[in-house]
């Protein structure tokens, strides 16, 4: 699935969003390995090399977008286009019609709405430029900050898995999945183009 249908970079009032490159990996790896960030990630904290191995193992670079504030990388967005669930005979109708999104920001820049601002623009690009019909985002249920962003994006909680996931703290914790359909997004009251400079 190509992301070429999006005209990069995306710009919001304060931020620039573009596909991450190898040059961004120092900054993004540093952010991912911060304790406040890695506590909510599937991965372990580790060295920069561990981070790069993981990016390679799961082919994550093509799904990673760098978010810049005044030309400084302050976080990332995740974008993975997938097919919807479909019975086999109609699978063509579900091909590449969904996007899973996510985000991770430097705690030094939290509290200013940057993640929400960048993610709202990503949601717009998914629906308008990529033409997906559904967007999902998953998180540990205790990750309040992230769940609040989903809610601000207009996403609905569809899943609350009870004690589904083993956290490195040793506790089995709940997970959530939020979703938003294209027609819901189109019908929603949004500040008109406020995030599009």
């Amino acid at each position: 699935m190509t992301l070429d249908r999006i005209s990069w970079p995306l710009r919001t009032d304060r931020l620039t969003v573009r596909p991450a490159t190898v040059e961004d990996l120092d900054a993004l790896g540093r952010i991912q390995n911060l304790p406040e960030v890695v506590t909510w990630l599937p991965s372990s904290a580790g060295t920069q090399a561990d981070y790069l191995l993981r990016m390679g193992q799961h082919s994550l670079l093509p799904r990673t977008l760098a978010v810049e504030l005044d030309s400084v990388v302050i976080g990332e967005l995740y974008l993975h286009v997938t097919s919807g669930w479909a019975q086999r005979e109609v699978a063509d109708g579900a091909r590449d019609c969904e996007a899973e999104i996510g985000w991770g920001f430097d705690p030094a820049h939290q509290g200013h709405g940057y993640a929400t601002e960048a993610a709202a623009e990503l949601v717009r690009a998914c629906f308008q430029d990529l033409g997906v019909r559904r967007i999902t985002a998953g998180a540990f249920a205790d990750n309040d900050r992230s769940v609040r962003i989903m809610e601000r994006l207009g996403m609905r909680q569809e899943t609350r898995g009870i004690r589904t996931t083993l956290h490195r703290s040793g506790h089995w914790v709940d997970n959530t999945v939020h979703a938003l359909l294209a027609d819901e997004w189109r019908g929603a009251d949004r500040p008109a183009a406020g995030a599009r400079a």
Partner: protein, 192 residues
């Protein structure tokens, strides 16, 4: 590994009225005949139009090793699905996470209304928790598949997910999907 999964259980398993055992290639004709009945096929992930296509699909997906046969008085009346996977965990604790199981079922309409699936699926849940030591069991369905959802509830499963128009059905279009789940400690508590 799924073949090893079934090796960890002593077959056949008998319930009050039914026998449950791993499916073999000899059972595929009978399974095909049940699954291609319209009442059954409407909810299945695929609808093969011929027996060879059906068998090849089994091979492609490797699902024979996840399929159990349901027998009543020696006759095949349906099948059960059992797929064991690793539980979700952060990478550094993955080795301690253990496993969970996805289950499913399919019964010939001629035998519906007698509680056979509930009887067999209850035993399947027991197999998952006691014999396979799974910590969580899940089952997924189209939300409109009312009989299947009723079975999940009878098994004591909780609804964890309702995906709004997330599943593309060949006749009904985009409709809702559900996931139900049950944890081992919930199951033990309910039997105490």
């Amino acid at each position: 590994m799924t073949t090893e999964t079934f090796d960890r259980v002593t077959w056949p398993i008998r319930t009050e009225r039914l026998t449950i055992r791993p499916a073999t290639s000899e059972d595929l004709r009978g399974i095909f005949e049940v699954r291609t009945l319209p009442e059954v096929g409407q909810w299945m992930p695929d609808r093969p139009t011929s027996y060879p296509e059906f068998v090849m699909r089994f091979g492609e997906l490797g699902v024979l090793a996840r399929t159990l046969v349901l027998e009543l008085d020696g006759a095949l009346i349906g099948d059960l699905y059992l797929h064991v996977t690793d539980a979700w965990a952060q990478a550094d604790v993955a080795a301690q996470a253990g496993q969970e199981a996805e289950i499913g079922w399919c019964l010939s309409p001629a035998h519906q209304g007698n509680g056979y699936v509930s009887e067999a699926a209850a035993e399947l849940v027991r197999i998952c928790f006691e014999d396979l030591a799974a910590r969580r069991v899940t089952a997924a369905a189209f939300a409109d598949n009312v009989p299947s959802l009723a079975i999940m509830r009878r098994l004591g499963m909780r609804q964890e997910s309702r995906g709004v128009r997330d599943s593309l059905h060949r006749e009904r279009g985009w409709i809702d999907g559900v996931v139900f789940a049950l944890l081992a400690d919930e199951w033990r508590e309910s039997r105490a």
